[in-house]
């Protein structure tokens, strides 16, 4: 089965650094996700929004990568938000308590409005 490659691009939206994620968040996403987060930080934004709209698969390794990002942001006292998760992955973020440390929003607009 051809795996869909992971992609992550950074853009700015009303002072929030938005990382548009796509494809599969698994072991193969490691370096790219890390680089995208660094890029987002470099924009000087105090809030980073992970946009999962175009993501179709997240596994436990992918969750570990996101926890890694949250650990970095916690140290830097930076806010990380998420939007565009399917109902299934939203549930998984709640079960794993990742949602306790990263506010989940239905869509980008709502998230940007709530960003501090």
């Amino acid at each position: 089965m051809a795996a869909k490659l992971f992609g992550a691009t950074v853009r700015s939206h009303d002072g929030v650094a938005v990382i548009d994620l796509s494809g599969e968040v698994n072991a193969g996403a490691d370096a790219r996700l890390d680089a995208a987060y660094s890029e987002a930080v470099a924009t000087g934004a105090s809030s980073v929004l992970l946009n999962f709209e175009a993501v179709d698969y997240i596994n436990s390794t992918g969750i570990a990568l996101i926890v890694g990002i949250l650990a970095r942001s916690k140290k830097e006292r930076r806010e990380v938000l998420a939007c565009g998760l399917s109902e299934h992955y939203r549930k998984i973020f709640e079960i794993t308590r990742v949602a306790d440390f990263m506010h989940l929003f239905q869509d980008e607009q709502t998230a940007i409005k709530q960003a501090s």
């Binding site: 089965m1 570990a64 890694g68 650990a71 299934h88 549930k91």
Partner: protein
């Protein structure tokens, strides 16, 4: 002396050694046959050069025949001390006798021609041998084709039974066969047999036996009756010195009950808690004697027990020192191995280390194994009794193949109509379980398989994911990862797999034996309070 005779037939071409410059039409003489025991042969064998037929005092029909054909001078062609042909010459056209110079020239010519003729003869001989070999190979291919035509294309799909079969013909193709026959009431007939002799005749007898058994089994059912009838029909038709050993058993997959009869075939082995017993029933091979009767016995294969049916090819394989693999060794291995396909894998790997790499397989090897799954303590009795298999498959232990397993399970459970949120949960659990099996059970070794078994009852779907990481301690309760510690960098951010699986399904059980490690996932078909 065939080559010599043939050569003589083609010959008399050399004439007029002194007048080769003058164009002349060569004169063809009639062919002369020389019997291999004609004294002329012995004479030529020891002659030192050209022989004048007129001056030769020898009682020889060949000499007379040559003279009659108009020959005057014969030069034996000798290569490496062996007479391989004759150079026959008629009279000189000038009507003078052959001179000393002529003879010297001819001797010289013969000395050069003899090795060349010998080479030509050897080439022709070799070509004939190649043709013979090709004919034999062709015959082997036909035998193989016949035989394979009659082997089952697929194994019976029996819930809670692991059925596996292995058949490897020897190069010269023996007459092994096996078969599974659907019988009334969901019973299964299992046949393993071996025709003495090899090649096309054995393959044809095998095909006949196969057809007789297939025709009789559903009608007669009783194994002893089936074999008796097969013997009655084979005996008048089977070629002399050929017979068929054959074991026939009828399995009731619901109860594990077996009825069997044996026409001189190897005794099946049953493994029960590490002990191995033979299933003994007596009877003569099929086609050997008329009016035979066969003993019929019964046995029960309990959950967790396994059975091996086997032909001679394995136990009678010879090692490099000419010692035999042997039945005691085979029996011992059955006692210490899992059943099903892992038993076959184990036996073959033991065989290969016993025989060494250069071994040429002497006889067909046929192995059929059956294992009745141990009753799973994790499943409720009602669920386990009515669960039926939806799919069983393997994936190689390569990163990324967990997605493949996930898609195939999703495909297999389609018919159950799970609501989409529950299907998503099952997908994630299967993907995580398979990823663990690939990484931690099989260490990402692409040559090792992860086996996925999907079954469903009226209440739930059960997925079992098995890797080869047996013999290790099973972790007890799955711990809830401490996300605070992970965020503070006190723990690795990883370690979510098992926790995730446990929270995706209604029940997760992990079991392990000496070789394998299995994670069993149960998901109720209808959602309850479990977050869905």
């Amino acid at each position: 002396m065939t080559a010599l005779t043939k050569f003589l037939r083609r010959k008399p071409k050399v004439e007029q050694p002194h007048e080769v410059a003058r164009p002349r039409t060569p004169v063809e003489s009639a062919a002369v046959d020389i019997s291999p025991n004609d004294p002329l042969i012995a004479y030529f064998q020891s002659a030192t050069g050209a022989v004048e037929l007129d001056g030769l005092e020898l009682e020889s029909p060949a000499k007379e025949a040559l003279k009659e054909a108009g020959m005057k001078l014969v030069v034996p062609l000798i290569s490496q001390g062996e007479l391989i042909g004759l150079l026959n010459l008629g009279p000189r056209l000038s009507e003078r006798d052959y001179s000393g110079d002529d003879r010297k020239l001819l001797d010289n010519l013969a000395a050069h021609a003899a090795p060349a003729v010998r080479v030509a003869q050897l080439v022709r001989q070799q070509e004939a041998e190649v043709r013979t070999r090709e004919r034999i190979e062709q015959e082997l291919r036909v035998a193989q084709l016949i035989q394979q035509q009659f082997l089952p294309k697929e194994l019976p799909n029996l819930p809670r039974w692991q059925v596996a079969a292995y058949y490897q013909p020897a190069r010269t193709v023996g007459g092994d066969f096996y078969d599974f026959i659907d019988l009334p009431d969901g019973h299964i007939g299992i046949v393993v047999g071996d025709v003495t002799d090899k090649g096309v005749p054995a393959a044809l007898v095998m095909a006949t036996t196969h057809s007789i058994l297939r025709g009789d089994a559903p009608r007669l059912v009783s194994p002893a009756e089936v074999l008796k009838h097969a013997n009655d029909r084979l005996y008048p038709e089977i070629p002399a010195r050929m017979f068929v050993t054959c074991l026939y058993m009828v399995l009731n997959p619901e109860t594990g009950h077996l009825r069997f009869a044996n026409a001189g075939h190897n005794l099946p082995y049953v493994r029960s808690e590490g002990r191995v017993t033979e299933l003994l029933a007596t009877g003569m091979p099929l086609g050997l004697m008329p009016d035979m009767t066969y003993e019929e016995k019964e046995a029960v294969l309990e959950p967790g027990q396994s059975l091996l049916l086997h032909s001679d090819g394995l136990a009678e394989a010879h090692g490099p020192g000419d010692e035999m693999f042997g039945f005691p060794r085979l029996m011992g291995l059955v006692g210490v191995s899992e059943g099903g396909s892992s038993l076959i894998d184990r036996l073959l790997s033991e065989l290969h280390s016993f025989t060494g790499a250069d071994w040429e397989q002497e006889d067909d090897i046929t192995l059929v194994t059956l294992e009745r799954s141990a009753a799973s303590p994790s499943m409720s009795a009602s669920a386990s009794n009515s669960a039926h298999t939806l799919a069983e498959f393997t994936v190689a232990s390569e990163p990324g193949n967990e997605r493949l397993a996930m898609e195939r399970v999703a495909e297999a459970v389609k018919e159950l109509g799970l609501e989409s949120s529950r299907l998503e949960r099952l997908r994630t659990a299967v993907s995580e379980g398979t990823m663990n099996a690939i990484e931690h059970g099989n260490y990402n070794r692409a040559d090792l398989d992860v086996t996925v078994h999907v079954a469903a009852s009226d209440e739930e779907v059960i997925v079992r994911i098995t890797d080869l990481g047996g013999g290790r301690e099973i972790p007890g309760e799955v711990e809830t990862p401490d996300i605070e510690a992970k965020l503070d960098g006190l723990q690795t951010p990883r370690g979510w797999g098992l926790f995730l699986i446990k929270n995706m399904v209604d029940d997760m059980q992990v079991s392990s034996d000496e070789h394998t490690h299995t994670i069993e996932l149960s998901l109720k078909l209808k959602g309850n309070g479990n977050g869905s």
